[in-house]
Amino acid sequence: MAASAAAAIGSPLKCGLISSQGFSGSTRSFQWRKNEKRNVRKGCRGVITAKIDLRPPPYSLDALEPHMSRETFEYHWGKHHRAYVDNLNKQIVGTELDTKTLEDIILLTYNKGDLLPPFNNAAQVWNHDFFWESMKPGGGGKPSGELLELINRDFGSFEGFVNEFKAAAATQFGSGWAWLVYKANRLDVGNAVNPRPSDEDKKLVVVKSPNAVNPLVWDYSPLLTIDVWEHAYYLDFQNRRPDYISTFMEKLVSWDAVNFRLEAAKARAAEREEEEERKKTEYEDNQADLDAREMYLESSDADDSEAD
């Protein structure tokens, strides 16, 4: 009965929602979304059909007025973001990407820069989720605490950061995004287009990216983004992209979100370091074992009983 009612209003069957995976460690998720595995549903007949959701922004569509209009949200979220979600689902249904997380789909279809068709839609879904959560009503102002300390350390001052971020957003020719990221990717990602391969780790960096590309593909942890596709600002600002960027910085940025993401990024970096240490120790222990065994075997030629 519930199923037919759901079918009658055109929404997908929701006979059960599997959310067993817990927090995926993604930086994009706000605390209250933590335990949702968004894309696995169990259909009534027991068939798993992956379906990426269109998530609403964490505020009403008019909540950012007058800085970002309701009309913009109706198109930007209601049409553009929705289309990326719908088109992605059409592209991945029945393929091996079907049951993967959104982040995994992005990394797989980025394909080291040789983009596969679902990349554009997958990355844009992620980017827009991340963008809505990068803003809040009554946003703007300055960060504080450790985040501000890191900004001062890595950009000289808050103003230094703001100038660099604004410049990146203004000079992303064509469509794209500007980002504040936490770089802690000591690994060689082997990607020729990593924009900051030589930068030290555990630092904040501003980067920009074209079209749908995002810093996940460079193994960075995004902390903040601004959408500089024209559809993001044209209804409110027309050609005046610099005014849009200033308004974003002064009135919309959610430093709470940035803080939360920074904590998650640092935790992940620490985990990764521990894991590497653990593997290194394991390897060294194994090597020591092998060496010991060799020595033992060499010194007991006359006694075969211990040999394999």
Partner: protein
């Protein structure tokens, strides 16, 4: 000193392409977007001359993307204004003469060409242009796309633009919003095939 670029005048009033393209868009597109490309190109050119006179290789290299982007923007939009015409001045009238024949030969029909250009325009991710190009070396017509403000010639030095459709969002957003396909369908009503024919006949007399 190299000659500075200037904003070409629009060959018709801002509202003359309505209802296909609104006067509001034409005004912004010409007086803001195109003008900005011209201004920024001239600035970059000035900086380039300074860098060249100082033999500052690093500065010369760093200026390339600004020159390409803004110079390309000027080139592309200068063609675009000529590609369009009010209905009263022949906008939308199908091509006749040798270009019309060549289109039928190459694409089967004008409808097929329009369909192809619209599909490629719709499929273009991000910002760019879709072109009807003449390969003057092989004397063949083809449909090509370029990203951002890359001029057609970046896709082949023998390519000559006959028609270009701007599919940057600024070209249609205020009127069509996200409905890019509607913009593409409607722009053909003000397409200036006379210009395309002139260019074609000059290269293929």
């Amino acid at each position: 000193m190299a000659e500075r670029l200037s904003l070409p005048e629009l060959p018709y009033d801002y509202g003359a392409l309505e209802p296909a393209i609104s006067g509001e868009i034409m005004l912004l597109h010409h007086q803001k977007h195109h003008k900005t490309y011209v201004t920024n190109f001239n600035n970059a050119l000035q900086q380039l001359e300074d860098a060249v006179s100082k033999s500052d290789a690093s500065a010369i290299v760093q200026l390339q993307s600004a020159l390409k982007f803004n110079g390309g923007g000027h080139i592309n939009h200068s063609i675009f204004w000529k590609n369009l015409a009010p209905v009263s001045q022949g906008g939308g009238e199908p091509p006749k003469g040798s270009l019309g024949n060549e289109i039928e030969k190459e694409f089967g029909s004008l409808e097929a060409l329009v369909h192809k250009m619209n599909s490629e325009g719709a499929a273009l991710q991000g910002s760019g242009w879709v072109w009807l190009a003449l390969d003057k070396e092989f004397k063949r017509l083809l449909v090509e796309t370029t990203f951002n403000q890359d001029p057609l010639v970046t896709k082949g030095s023998s390519l000559v633009p006959l028609l270009g459709i701007d599919v940057w969002e600024h070209a249609y957003y205020l009127q069509y919003k996200n409905a890019k396909a509607d913009y593409l369908a409607n722009i053909w009503k003000v397409m200036n095939w006379n210009y395309a024919s002139e260019v074609y006949e000059k290269e293929c007399p």
